[in-house]
């Protein structure tokens, strides 16, 4: 009899997650964004893959529908790139849960991602991942505010003053 966590069978959770995603379609269809059941299943599989890759484990669903809910009204997401962006966002999310040493709650991290995806990154997932989130994670690890700017410019100084 084994007590290895890797034997944890998440198939029940996967089914639940797929049905949750299908339910959100009602909310996202106003933006022209809809996922089919196979697409939802693929997204859930991406989550499992991301969890495994980042050495994490999840016992309840919820993150996928949160990501969809937060990002569905983004001006940079359309039905052309909807599925692709979601897959990337899920992977980025779990990667930065680790990078922030779990110091940021799920909601705060997704909100931060949305703010910078729609803002400075202008819809670029690369800029979001390698610039904004990287900077935020470094700030958190150094005990600074997530929005702290290292660059010594008058604008950055003004922003830092506003943060503190």
């Amino acid at each position: 009899m084994s007590f290895d966590l890797m034997l944890f069978d998440g198939s029940l959770l996967e089914k639940q997650a797929v049905s949750e995603i299908m339910m959100i379609n009602k909310r996202t269809e106003q933006f022209g964004l809809i996922l089919t059941e196979p697409q939802a299943l693929e997204l859930v599989e991406t989550r499992s893959y991301a969890l495994k890759n980042t050495g994490r484990i999840e016992f309840s669903g919820g993150v996928l529908d949160k990501i969809i809910k937060y990002f569905c009204d983004s001006p940079y997401i359309s039905h052309y790139n909807y599925q692709e962006v979601l897959h990337e966002l899920v992977e980025i999310f779990y990667y930065y849960k680790n990078e922030t040493l779990d110091q940021m709650s799920d909601d705060d991290l997704i909100q931060f991602m949305k703010k910078h995806f729609n803002g400075k990154s202008a819809g670029s997932l690369d800029l979001l991942k390698y610039r904004e989130l990287e900077k935020m994670a470094r700030n958190l690890r150094n005990g600074c505010d997530p929005e702290f700017e290292e660059i010594d410019t008058p604008e950055a100084e003004e922003k830092n003053n506003a943060v503190y």
Partner: protein, 454 residues
Amino acid sequence: MQSIEKHSKINKQRLGNEFYFQALLQEAHNQGELSALEIESIQMQIIKLLADSTEAYNKGLSSSVKVEVAQTIMKSNLYTIGLYLKSFPEPAAALDTVKSQPLSDLYSLGRSMIDTKLNVARYLYHLVYKTKIQTSNASYNDTIGEEGIKGFFKDYHADYEAHETSGSIDYQLMHPITDLAGVEYIIQYLQNWHLENLFCSKFEPAILHEVMCGYHESYADLLVNIFGQALQNALGCAMLHKEILALNLEASDIRKIKNDLKNETKESILEILQQNAAIIIKTLEITNTSLKAYIWASLPEFSSSIYFAVKNDTLQKVFVPRVNLTSNDTIQYSMGTKTDDESYRIIVNEVRSCRYSDDKIQIIKEQFKTLSDIEDILLDCALSESEAFVIFNLLDDVEIAVLVKRHPCHPEINAIDFSEAEIILQQYLDNYLQTMPKNRIAQIQTIGSNIEII
């Protein structure tokens, strides 16, 4: 009428104490006492319990955790359930409970048992602290202090790391605890330590110190057990009909023991040790049955080490002569307790704000009674040389000798190793000594060389 007992194939001896629940399930699985359905149900319940605990761990802010964190929490949960199951007299009854009751209920019962055990551990710590012996062994003193067992009570997380033994527990007991974890480990450790303290407190601390110096002159920095060495020497004294409380064995005594034991086997040495242990128990008026059992349990290990020491001619490592490293006319000087920081700061500010030297001296005379405080004042108050001399005049030769020993004048290394205030104090002391007659300086130097500041 005979009672009917359920026959179980589970062997109690094969169940470890450290993680009882896992061992019970494994053994039940091996013996075919758990069906595939029951195993699946238990596994599902374990995962459900883990999910609940993980959610509580994350305070609902995060839905995922690192696998290592989840594994630690799961281990903690299983340990807690095992703690409750251990309270059943037979493994079969424990297994029936696992099959019939939800694991979450068993966890709750185990969790409340941990709280009770923590209270027991706190009480035992109190006993250990009350009976602690005076020793310079750092591992002993550190383990009893803030960073040691006290750290356990501060850092122990019964909800998520119940199986962990936080705190730095370095002191080596005669009987190491190998098959327990978490709070159970601490309880057993403290019980053993308390018994060792009870035995050691029968002897003068100075005698124990000399015995341990005989074991190794740097014993203060070693991970050694004081009880074991004291008991071994006591056994040696009992064998030679010497005063047990003195624990004093000369080199000739050790040779005599070697001659007496050279033809003995391990078993016969054990018998001899048992006879002498009985004498020790009687002489030292040991009535505590647990302590008696603890002493008896130590004897097989001693008999083995004595047997091999006799064969290898290393008996002087088992029975050690007392060694007095300090000469007889050494003075142990305590600097006394320091005034608390807040009060000290107020007084220093008061002294520094005084305009006249007389007022400063008056405040210092009134407020400070220990040399420790006087030394701080001399360093912190920026006194003039004449003011410092007045303070020095208030001190006797021993106190001056202590200050000189702590602040010797080394002009060649001063600039690198000492603060400015320390250099000034060294110069004041040096100048003050030069104002004294030569015979008094010699007397102070003699005192200084024989003084041990504690």
